[in-house]
Symmetry: C2
Subunit: 319 residues, 2 copies
DNA sequence: CCTGAAGATGACAACGCTGTCACCCAGCCC
DNA sequence: GGGCTGGGTGACAGCGTTGTCATCTTCAGG
């Protein structure tokens, strides 16, 4: 019995021949270990929890599908935990989650990756977690993209098209990505020798509506920017909306670009130039890394993934 | 010990006074039943599986969030199971799911709600399931909207704006909703005394790209339709894309409408007139119903939810 | 050939609940 | 008052694994 257990769990110290016999017998009998019994006896749940509070459904769907893929191959289950952001509620919800579902590990997405009290709390209860795009690596494991570099590259693209009056719609202040992308934007301008114009940096919060508001503000300026780089696709959609509203031709009168490459970016008119963020891959890698870390606590580190500039029709030569 | 079990499971035959004492003690000791032990001893997993194969991420996110809400309140876990559609793979994946995760019930979304071999299989292995928008009620429990009625109402709206040349982009042939919406479209025309024009019914498959293709076909007609009603929002986005491409003014030259009221519909320009489908609520109700059915197998039936016509800026008076 | 170490195997007791069944007791009927 | 019914309570044996530890086997080295 114990030998079967060893074989099913890929543990060492079983003769290859014995192992083969067990595997064969299991197949013949269609034997599949019972998850409940395994977790009761083994003190682990084979559950991972994906904790999120993210305005963008498209982003989450990408992450989720990657996480699911990895979970399936590692025979773990995924618990989705949408949570509130306010600190009191957040900690209570996490406690609830941990008490009830006893996940073996957590996956955090921005902005939860940087909620100090949450991180302290997780450290206190000693539950391993992996972070996707954290501001700083505080998790055992992190998956990240070079966001400033990507944003800089977007500015470069616009500069190459002849733009000099390039505006930026900043993301939600609580997300690390907002700062990174803003930094990249500024670096891009600096590299092109374009001075920073404070009026061209408008605060948004990653939502479509905030993009609309920012665009109205920017397009009221005189001279108005010839290109607007929004920190995500949803806000870029808001910018495009306002541009259409005002009868501007895109990209002739105004270039617009986004960040994330969500499905939305292909469905807008004109199709949106954006940075492809491999959300699915990030979810997958974070999950695989987390599971490895659970099995072998010294497996830690940061995994880097690469972005791609997707040039579509929403950007063109400066007027 | 058994009495505690009864209290925690809200079983009858415990004196109110005893019950209160148990509840109090549980709170004082922060006692929370162990899920693994409960499922091992009780032969149920407290897992529900949401099985889906759906092109629309927005639709699924709506359903998922409703399902999660219900799961949280009923203390169940959700397992997400994206599956292949081809029959061989599908059944194998379901078997795998059932063998490994032993869910207490399944939630099906279109088009899986109508895959005959899948339904037979589920009946054979005697696992309860609930269907969201099934073509016919074959599940113990179904949640549905009056889709033909909703589509008819959309046509009515267009007719009221003076449109007579109203085209329809049909959804994916495997989805029951496609037929319902087509039926509703035809009923709407019939009621307005407008003859059906076969050239105005173009097959799509619910994707943005198929909407683009359908739109090109429809806008090449002479005379072209003055309004295009697409069977979902993604295809409507495709129609809007092509209309912009051709320099048509919306809604002055062409009215466009969709179905589902996904977030996309508010982010397009002009904002899309569509039918609001309460996906979140449908997910929630299906889940609650399924859990009720698991506890009490004679709880069956169809739950109706109501739609709403959302008039936005993509439809206007006929030219 | 013997010894010892390391590898391989298996016996057994948990793990923390629930189903079953026995028991107790109050209240009711005759 | 005796017998019966049914609600309330709890004892006990699993549920199907894994961790621990004992035992057996193998093989290298003396």
């Amino acid at each position: 019995m114990k030998t079967v257990s060893r074989v099913m769990n890929r543990e060492p110290n079983v003769r290859p021949e014995t192992r083969a016999r067990v595997v064969e017998a299991a197949k013949a009998l269609r034997y599949i270990p019972d998850v409940s019994a395994r977790s009761l006896a083994g003190h682990r749940s084979f559950n991972l929890a994906l904790v999120y509070n993210n305005p963008s459904e498209n982003y989450m769907m990408g992450v989720i599908s990657g996480v699911l893929e990895a979970c399936a191959s590692e025979r773990y289950h995924l618990i989705l935990s949408p949570v509130a952001l306010d600190e009191g509620g957040l900690l209570a919800e996490i406690d609830d989650l941990v008490a009830n579902s006893r996940p073996d590990g957590l996956l955090l997405t921005p902005p939860l990756t940087d909620a100090p009290r949450l991180l302290d709390h997780l450290a206190a209860v000693a539950i391993p977690f992996a972070s996707i795009s954290p501001r700083r690596q505080q998790a055992a494991l992190a998956v990240a993209m070079d966001e400033p570099e990507a944003a800089e590259q977007m500015v470069e693209h616009l500069v190459a098209l002849g733009h000099r009056r390039i505006a930026h719609v900043i993301g939600h202040p609580a997300h690390g990505a907002s700062q990174w992308r803003l930094d990249g934007y500024r670096r891009g301008l600096a590299r092109a020798g374009i001075p920073i114009n404070p009026a061209f940096e408008v605060q948004g919060e990653f939502s479509f509506e905030s993009g609309v508001a920012a665009a109205r503000q920017l397009l009221d300026l005189d001279p108005m920017p010839s290109a607007i780089f929004a920190a995500n696709d949803d806000m870029a959609a808001g910018v495009i909306f306002v541009a259409h509203e005002r009868g501007l031709r895109l990209p002739d009168d105004l270039s617009v670009s986004g960040f994330d490459d969500t499905p939305l970016s292909r469905q807008l008119f004109p199709a949106l130039t954006t940075i492809h963020q491999p959300t699915r891959e990030m979810g997958r890698l974070a999950t695989i890394g987390l599971i490895a870390h659970i099995k072998e606590p010294k497996a830690t580190g940061t995994i880097r993934v690469t972005h791609t500039l997707k040039v579509r029709q929403s950007t063109g030569p400066a007027p």
